[in-house]
Amino acid sequence: MSQTMTRRQFFKVTAGGFAGAGLGALGLTPEALQAATRPFKLERTSEARNICPYCSVSCGVLMYSIGDKAKNVEASIIHIEGDPDNPVNRGTLCPKGAGLLEMIHSENRLKFPEVREAGSSEWKRISWDEAITRIATHMKADRDANFKTTNEAGVTVNHWPTVGFLASSAASNEAGYISHKVLRGLGVIGIDTQARI
């Protein structure tokens, strides 16, 4: 990789109004020069490196987002492709990963906390504050009622046996660790993850 120019260096050299001179410097043909004069669609984007969230090959991806980083301007990803520097996928993505952009912008993304009350047939939008308060209230009531400090034999167990938690295997290692720390901190033992399945 050190011998040849990486693709991103190539993008830098060829970007914007310097396209002609850049390509000329690279010794490419006049036809390529003409073809490159159309403004490159990723020219004004920011690049972030990430990992495809599907199978465990964990292909490196380059994500390009628009938005000028000003306050109140939301960045939005407009293009995703394989990371050519990643030694495993070397720039490739498979048919699953080819749809990553549509996954991010899926109409089925959840956008707000919601509750479905007991017996109801509808969702109701609530605030984060209400959601966290209501969930924590349920948790505390259940924990206070059912926490066990010792078992029948008198051995200290300090656990909360009436709750269960299934952990994400699409979360980062850090989120997984924090989830684990919080759960044990609360005395939860009913923990499992997608990894088993």
Binding site: C52, P87, K96, M103, N151, G164, S168, S172, Y177, A195
Partner: protein
């Protein structure tokens, strides 16, 4: 994976069995093609279906789902009968020479020590014969009848090619052809790799299928070699990392055990978990268990954990009984759980037996779903026609749905199947009010901590004592947490050989797990990740992809656990004298003074070969276990048992012993046994799988993927289609004892009908990607059909082998 993705290119023979890398792991599979094109490697695929992996293979053989141990046991028999094994490797690096207790026996499908009432084994008789000094007896010639190699020979002597054909349906010639190709890899300069996935794990004997392969790789001398190893192609992008963080009831991060009610205090816990040395000179890495455990307690409880309070051991909850997902839903089904959380997990779709899961969820008081997508689980209570036929008014569960972010909106690390941890950066924020999983957990924790602040309620102490040093308590940053996971010094860490020398100053990041201490001077959230964020910075974010060895090791790309080692057990890539078995594929070698080469040595760098330290340092005896003296519920050697739903009345190996039909140590909950179907009613075997266009139950929410595979279908072979009067494109109903689905029939040559034990058995293939939420056409959840029983060790459900009937809808 003991090895890693790019390393597949170093293999001479690639066996894909129990997986379909071309469709389920396409970009990793290209390294198999690389091996074929540039090394002349051969690719062999054994699968019930002629998959796309098979389509580019040099050789393909069909097999009946669930019969892999019969096939692989036949390979072991072939290797031992034809002297196709690496004798030096087997003698010095495995327990082949060890003598097993005289009281050990295996007869008519059962090992010694079975307790019929409990459906479990006591493993006292599965132990080594030991001398008065506690050292195991060995026979270096491997001739004594009770030595492991002879027992292995004896155990698989009935797995003849004829028997393989009868049980698996693989034609005898095909089996022998593959056995011969595998046998070639017993030469020191020929290496085989195995790529498997859920096609092995999702069986009631899944762990033993993998163990059978591990035995083969050890006989061939392929573990530790570049291009070799045992390679589990895992299912999700960070399923390896979350496994390492051990989000399991029975474990703590770094594969430490969770304290249980059998270990009332830290001393009892450490005594039970720290293995005693077996051989004097042997490196026994788990002897460091107390250092890993105390450092974890320090990470959890910080300065509140002191020697006086046993580093907060009492605060840590003690587990009682099983806590796996099948056990949890069983408890829920019995009404014993009140609250439940699903973080990026869709159990209504991905745990076996949908009807039972739905009934169980309806018994909860509250359910919390944290997910980027509108999952089926979050709407288990909602009527979705024939696909989810429920009455909302009858479901009293309060359901909360919290919007979580997706990969593109997260910063932090992911660990790939090859144990390489890579850092990721966010490209946008989650839409609407979505938040990260870490922030959601922190919000819940800080809220509860405040609610418990007045000392009211049950046992508030561990909540108040949990170490929470994050700059924004409601939103810990990935960097802060990654540093805690990797480990830091809480006090100066001194050199044990020279206490005047400080190895790490208080507050510094630790360079690796060798610096961890059991005196409270170090904190480390996960010992196998130690060193991933050292004083040199975030090594997971490294992006130097240079590969000077040409083996694809890229040691400066990210960070591999443990200790940045890319190939586990790499000491075994050399012979006893320290010379590589194959110099062209040198992983490490002894240069007269130290172990050097193209990887981090999996042995202390200055230990000379003359000290005969075995390469398998995680076992106290230093050798790999062909015979598992512990750790396996259903026996020290794998045995072929039929799936719980099998077309056969009896196990062909033990036709007269009904107890040995299925895995004797598997757990079947009361009531679930009645839900197993019989071949008389459900004559065809069925198996579930992924398609190349979809990922699990996620990509049906992505319009591009939905366009490429919009509608649910099942695959059947031509002979079954003819027999059942089903045409290509017909709508069919597939039923099991637990429910039915309807889908379009694809009639294909890819699925053959096989002769099994004298009768013709048909296979129905069931892709699993549809459900009642998504932008594809709505479909049935495939787990409507699958049985509620798991592997005896892992409790992974048996999604891959069950019985169905099929008819025109």
């Amino acid at each position: 994976m003991t090895n890693h993705w790019v390393d597949i290119k170093n293999a001479d023979l690639i066996l894909i069995m129990g997986g379909n890398a071309a469709e389920a792991h396409p970009c990793g599979f290209k390294w198999a093609i690389e091996a074929k094109k540039h090394r002349g490697a051969k690719l062999v695929v054994v699968d019930p279906r002629f998959t796309r992996s098979a389509a580019v293979a040099d050789f393909y053989a069909p097999i009946r789902t669930g019969s892999d141990i019969a096939f692989l046991g036949g390979v072991i028999n072939y290797l031992l009968s034809n002297n196709k094994f690496n004798a030096e490797y087997v003698r010095y690096y495995t327990n082949a020479t060890y003598l097993i207790n005289e009281s050990y026996s295996f007869a008519d499908g059962m090992f010694s020590g079975f307790d019929e009432a409990k459906h479990s084994y006591a493993n006292d008789s599965w132990q080594y014969q030991k001398g008065p000094d506690g050292a195991p007896y060995m026979d270096p010639e491997m001739q004594y009848p009770k030595c492991v190699l002879q027992l292995l020979k004896q155990h698989y002597s009935s797995y003849t090619p004829e028997m393989v054909e009868s049980v698996t349906g693989t034609p005898k010639e095909d089996f022998l052809n593959i056995a011969e190709m595998i046998g070639e890899c017993s030469k020191p300069d020929k290496v085989m790799t195995i790529l498997y996935a859920l096609g092995w794990t999702q069986h009631s004997v899944g762990s033993q299928m993998i163990r059978t392969m591990a035995i083969i790789q050890l006989l061939l001398g392929n573990i530790g070699m570049a291009g070799g190893g045992i390679n589990a192609l895992r299912g999700h992008a960070n399923v390896q990392g979350i496994t390492d963080m051990n989000l399991f009831g029975a474990n703590l991060p770094g594969y430490l055990a969770s304290p249980s009610d059998k270990e009332p205090n830290l001393q009892a816990f450490l005594a039970a978990k720290t293995p005693k040395p077996v051989r004097m000179a042997q490196m026994n890495y788990w002897v460091n268990y107390p250092k890993f455990m105390v450092s974890l307690l320090k990470a959890f409880y910080g300065p509140n954990a002191t020697a006086e309070n046993n580093f907060g051991y009492d605060w840590m909850p003690k587990i009682t009984g099983a806590q796996d997902v099948l056990a949890l839903f069983e408890q829920m089904h019995q009404g014993k759980l009140n609250g439940f959380f699903c973080q990026g997990f869709n159990p209504l779709a991905s745990v076996s037996h949908k009807a039972k899961i739905g009934q169980a969820l309806a018994k909860l008081k509250y359910l919390v779903v944290m997910d980027p997508l509108a999952t089926e689980t979050s709407e288990f209570w909602k009527a979705h026609g024939e696909y989810n036929d429920v009455k909302p008014e009858e479901v009293q569960t309060e359901v909360f749905r919290l919007p979580a972010n997706l990969f593109a909106e997260q910063e932090g690390s992911f660990t790939n199947s090859g144990r390489v941890i890579q850092w990721r950066w966010a490209g946008q924020n989650a839409p609407g009010e979505g938040k990260g999983d870490m922030e959601i957990m922190a919000l819940l924790f800080t809220k509860l901590k405040a609610m418990y602040a007045d000392g009211s309620g049950a046992y508030a102490e561990p909540i108040q004592k949990l170490h929470w040093p994050y700059r924004i308590p409601t939103s810990p940053s990935p960097e802060e947490v990654a540093k805690e996971v990797s480990g830091y010094a809480m006090a100066d860490v001194l050199d044990p050989k020279d206490p005047t020398k400080i190895l790490a100053k208080a507050g510094e990041q630790l360079a690796g797990f060798a610096l961890l201490r059991d005196d409270g001077s170090t904190a480390c959230g996960n010992w196998i990740y130690a060193g991933s964020w050292s004083q040199a910075g975030n090594l997971m974010a490294r992006r130097d992809n240079s590969d000077p060895s040409g083996l694809g090791q890229t040691l400066n790309w990210g960070f591999a656990w443990p200790a940045n080692r890319r190939i586990l057990y790499n000491r075994a890539s050399c012979d006893v004298s320290g010379k590589p078995w194959d110099a062209s594929r040198t992983v490490i070698k002894w240069n007269g003074k130290a172990w050097v080469g193209n990887d981090i040595p999996d042995i202390r760098a200055d230990t000379p070969p003359s000290e005969s330290v075995g390469p398998f340092i995680m076992n106290p005896e230093g050798v790999a276990r062909l015979f598992a003296i512990q750790g396996m519920k259903e026996g020290p050697f794998p045995v072929h048992y039929e799936p719980f739903e099998s077309p056969l009345e009896a196990n062909p190996f033990f036709p007269n012993n009904a107890k040995a039909r299925n895995n004797p140590a598997a757990r079947v909950f009361k009531g679930d046994g009645d839900n197993f179907g019989k071949a008389a009613d459900f004559p065809h075997v069925a198996t579930t799988y992924r398609l190349v266009e979809h990922f699990h139950y996620w990509t049906k929410h992505s319009v591009l993927n939905a366009i490429t595979q919009p509608e649910q279908f099942v695959e059947i072979g031509e002979s079954l289609a003819k027999e059942a009067g089903i045409g290509h494109g017909d709508k069919v109903r597939v039923s099991s004892k637990r429910g039915h689905i309807e889908a379009v029939a694809v009639v294909t040559k890819r699925i053959r009908s096989l002769q099994i034990d004298g009768k013709l058995v048909h296979t129905v293939g069931i892709p699993l990607h549809w459900g009642f939420k998504g932008v594809t056409r709505p479909g049935y959840l495939a787990n409507t059909l699958t049985p509620y029983v798991g592997d005896a060790n892992t409790q992974t459900p048996e999604f891959k082998s069950f019985l169905v009937k099929i008819e025109k809808a």
